[in-house]
Amino acid sequence: MTDNSSHMPELAVLSEFLSLTAQEESSGGLHDEAHRLYVGLHSQPRVAVAGEFSSGKSSLVNLLVGTDLVQTSVLASRLPTILYEYGTEQKIMVGWWSDTAEDKREFADLDSAAELKPDFIRVTLPADILRMVSLIDLPGTNDPLRAKERTLEMADNAHILLWCTNAVQAWRETERRTWSQLPGQLKENGILVITHVDLPSIRKSLDRLMKRMTDELSSHFHALIPFQSPKAAKARKDGTVSNKTAWEEAGGAQLLENIATLAATVRKESLASARALIEKEINPRLEALRAEAAASVPKPGEILEEWRSTVDGIVSRVEGDKSIGTDEFLSLCRAAVQDVSRMLEHPGLEGPAVAALKAEFRGAAHMFDQSRLADGDEGPEEAALILLQLGYELGSFAAQDG
């Protein structure tokens, strides 16, 4: 993920508004809307690559991002959704749509990540195209062993659609039906990629196929692009184009252009919506929210009090129930750390002491998240020591203040 906040004042406003309203359960609609726009502006637009199984989705994504992490085969793939995002180095992680916290575990390859049965596998790569958009390689539909509803749900998280259809049996009823069930906004930003046009049986009458596609579908898609994976793969080794003519003939250039156009449109639209929201809804409320926040800044003493009672709770829990397992103990510790972290995040708390404390807590949370603790009996011991240390730091912070 690249950070765009530096050159986008709207992001800063949205971010402040979000933190000011974080605690308010009731702010509901506005907070969620602001959050959606914030995510839309903060990260790249997401391109969902969808279609029936074996339609060439992974072949296409592989050559756009310049890796062959995903195997392509005429057999229906058993991998979950793969989300590609920008990163300075290649990492493979797992995620669940319902989890807000990022799972930081890393995997050596897709198969071992898939063993955890995650909703999606997150891959970061230093590929150019990922600076512009994120890519989602979705599982294929019309597979008797996979329900399409899951795929449809996942498309909800995207802004741009690449629908792959195999030229050999292009645009059948099952495709049309699944496509028609996608969210309207996504369909508006759709590109139809007609794959396999390199095959001899297609090449000889491609014009007639394209004629039918254009008649039936040009009003439903931003562009219809005949595409040849094998040729494109040869022309674009490791993510950079080595043979421009071949890349153009394969449909690659046209594809990238159209993705760029749609990405720009999506950004422009998000920005316009953000501006409108800020102007109409957020700005009028911002002053009041700030004042409210200033009045409700938690006192260091209160934070310490909260910490102590939580830790006391854990202690009496452990003493009262000797059968409590290591895992449960660790997750209690993790919750305690997160609780106080959240209090420390209050926008009204400022200064180097707070910053140092926040860093301490974040570091601790990180330890718990990644299970960096020692194995066996030493784990809980280490955790207890961390809690002790944190309490100590909090105590001296409160003492300074008071």
């Binding site: 029936e52 005429v74 050999v168 059948r172 009823e173 049986s201």
Partner: protein
């Protein structure tokens, strides 16, 4: 050119083995009839011979659009380029290619058009959606479909102008056909308002209901109809509808899949329908393997997955899965190389262990290249599999029934001759027949009365069972519909325009099917047992001496046993009728709407169930009646014999009697040979011919 690739394999032509067995049976039957001049016997044999000579195997090619059905049919029939094929969805009409049609028609074609009623039905069926398993029709789809039907009418009118109305219900007949004639009727052609490549192609396709094209039996080994059908899963929903309506007309199916997407949900759904139709003579042909890069790596796994998924779907039925390429087959037949990637062919040939000449395919001469293409095209496997399927299918249907009926009749005939011989050789002279004309008439009456009483009882019991089943099924449908009502009202209350409603009707369909099939089997079994018991009961009406003579006569049960349940009406699309239309229904409460919808479900399923039951009930009754009639004929014949019908009158001389005896003896010998041979054939067919006791 004398390359073998181009020639159908002599002696291994499709259906040759079936034809050989059939011919054998006919030959023996001819000798049988020649040996026994009895008129009534001939009357009994005649329909059996008819069933053999008029039999016509029907194979349908089905599958998704652009799987390559038409191309594959062209290859199998060795009529390259006969059926039009294209890159866009193309076949629109069920096209029957008849080879050696029993009517004797061996050339030309008939293209039959919809009549008003059929057209209307099609248009209405258009209103019922082709999505068999998804049930309810949503608003926007209804619109879409109406548009499609309208467009179809419009197109037909554009193409045919004032001919349109006058053609409906008629047919076009041709003494000779070729590709360009066929093209006018069976494929969609280019849209008439566009720049047109071939203005004739597709001219009549919108109004053509069925195409029948006739050929000599060559290259097939048996009279056969090969049917090409419009592809399923076409966004033009009517095409799938047309194919579905015709599925019942075939007994054997070649399900064509594309290797690009071996076995999709849509294919599985098709197989489910075939299963519901009790059509289990299926072979799967995974086509277009020439287009898959490096298929060798995935070949076994691909076939394995297709097999496993099908096996699962068909509850253990082992369907042959063949892998091939109509493009390679076509090349081997025509020598046209334009669609061929020689590298793919070479790679795959190596993988299959085909011996290549030195220097590879490139260095091979044309006949060799074509022979290699044929070897890996899967066409030979398809031919062999079809042959086996045809023979197996025949065994369990017409061929099997004919053989066992003939065994029984020939045994009766020999019994008859034995009775006659007995009389003729009696010391005390002729005239001492076991039955007098009066006692014979009494006996016949006795049998007839008892038989008709029992047959009536069987029919009545059947009717009761069917009626009970109908109530039962209707109850299931009602229960299901009511259970949906509440949930549906909730969904409807929050429904927005353009949104879909989903009621999964499959659980109901499955429950009805299971219930129906189970009871069907019970009813069938009951009737079968009753008929067997009746055979015994009727024989026991007689003295042991007569009973012994009747031991070869049984009430035929094959007619009853060969009936099978028909569940396809259940899989028809169910319409959601919000008769006031979308806008009107907006003003009704969602409760009322839900109730209406539930009623439609109930009514439509009740109709289906009635249809399931009524047609089969009638068939059972006809089968029982037919068996009873044959039984009476057979028994009468033996009783007549016992009453001395065929023995010369009292005053004939000793010499005459001896001559008669010699003649009867000769006939007996002939008949006994026939019996032996027929028993041999029956055994080969795996039939039971042992006597009860």
């Amino acid at each position: 050119m004398n390359d073998q690739a181009n020639q159908p394999r002599v002696g291994q032509a499709i259906g040759a083995s079936l034809e050989a067995t059939k011919q054998n049976l006919l030959d023996v039957t001819q000798r049988f009839v020649a040996a026994d001049a009895d008129e009534e016997l001939r009357d009994r044999v005649e329909p059996i011979v008819d069933s053999l000579t008029s039999h016509f195997s029907k194979v349908a090619f089905v599958g998704q659009v652009k799987a390559g059905k038409s191309t594959l049919v062209n290859c199998l029939t060795h009529k390259a380029d006969l059926l039009p094929s294209d890159i866009n969805p193309w076949t629109t009409v069920v096209t029957q290619l008849n080879f050696g049609h029993p009517s004797g028609r061996h050339s030309g074609a008939i293209f039959r058009f919809f009549d008003d009623a059929q057209w209307d039905r099609l248009a209405k069926r258009g209103g019922r959606l082709g999505e068999l398993t998804e049930g309810l029709l949503e608003d926007y789809k209804k619109e879409m479909l109406n548009e499609q039907v309208e467009a179809m009418r419009h197109r037909a009118q554009l193409r045919l102008s004032d001919q349109f109305e006058t053609l409906l219900g008629k047919a076009h007949r041709f003494e000779k056909v070729n590709r360009s004639v066929i093209e006018r009727y069976v494929c969609s052609g280019d849209a008439p308002q566009e720049r047109i490549r071939n203005p004739q192609a597709g001219r009549f396709n919108d109004i053509t209901r069925v195409a029948e094209i006739y050929f000599e039996q060559e290259p097939f080994g048996t009279p056969i109809c090969v049917m090409d059908t419009p592809g399923i899963n076409d966004p033009l929903l009517i095409r799938e509808e047309i194919t579905q309506q015709h599925l019942e007309n075939a007994e054997y199916f070649v399900v064509v899949l594309s290797a690009h997407q071996p076995l999709t949900e849509s294919d599985v759904r098709l197989v489910r329908i075939l299963k519901a139709l009790k059509r289990d003579q299926i072979v799967v042909f995974v086509n277009r393997i020439d287009e898959i890069h490096h298929l060798a790596e995935d070949f076994e796994e691909l076939r394995g997955r297709v097999k496993a998924n099908l096996n699962n779907e068909l509850e253990g039925l082992d369907v042959p899965v063949l892998m091939g390429s109509a493009a390679w087959a076509n090349y081997s037949i025509t020598g046209d190389e334009s669609d061929i990637d020689p590298e793919a062919l070479e790679e795959f040939a190596k993988f299959r262990g085909v011996e290549l000449p030195e220097g590879g395919l490139e260095n091979a001469d044309e006949p060799t290249r074509r022979a290699i293409a044929r070897q890996v095209s899967g066409l030979t496997e398809l031919e062999d599999t079809l042959s086996t399927m045809l023979l197996n299918g025949a065994k369990s249907s017409f061929l099997g029934s004919a053989a066992s009926a003939l065994v029984s009749l020939s045994r009766q005939s020999s019994e008859q001759t034995k009775i006659r011989l007995d009389y003729l050789s009696q010391e005390s002279g002729p005239g001492r027949t076991v039955l007098t004309p009066e006692t014979k008439e009494e006996a016949i009456k006795l049998v007839r009365d008892r038989l008709s009483m029992r047959a009536h009882a069987i029919t009545q019991a059947g009717r009761n069972a069917w009626a009970k089943l109908l109530t039962n099924l209707e109850g299931d449908a009602t229960k299901f519909a009511k259970a949906q009502q509440e949930g549906l009202a909730g969904v409807l209350a929050t429904l927005k325009r353009g949104q879909d409603i989903h009621i999964d009707l499959d659980p109901l369909r499955d429950r009805l099917r299971d219930n129906y099939v189970k009871r069907f089997d019970e009813i069938q079994n009951r009737i079968w047992l009753d008929l067997r018991a009746l055979s015994k009961e009727l024989r026991e009406l007689f003295d042991p001496e007569i009973e012994k003579r009747l031991r070869h006569i049984n009430i035929e049960t094959l007619g009853v046993l060969s009936l099978s349940p028909r569940t396809d009406p259940l899989y028809r699309t169910v319409t959601l009728d919000l008769s006031t239309g979308w806008l009107g229904s907006l003003f009704e409460s969602s409760g009322t709407k839900a109730e209406k919808m539930v009623n439609t479900i109930q009514v439509q399923f009740a109709d289906m169930c009635r249809e399931l039951i009524e047609s089969r009930r009638e068939e059972f009754e006809t089968a029982v009646e037919r068996s009873a009639n044959s039984y009476i004929i057979d028994v009468t014949r033996i009783l007549e014999e016992l009453a001395g019908k065929n023995v010369s009158s009292v005053d004939t001389s000793e010499a005459k009697r001896e001559a008669d005896a010699a003649e009867a003896q000769a006939q007996l010998e002939l008949t006994e040979t026939v019996v032996k041979e027929l028993e041999g054939i029956a055994e080969e067919l795996g039939l039971e011919t042992e006597l009860d006791d």
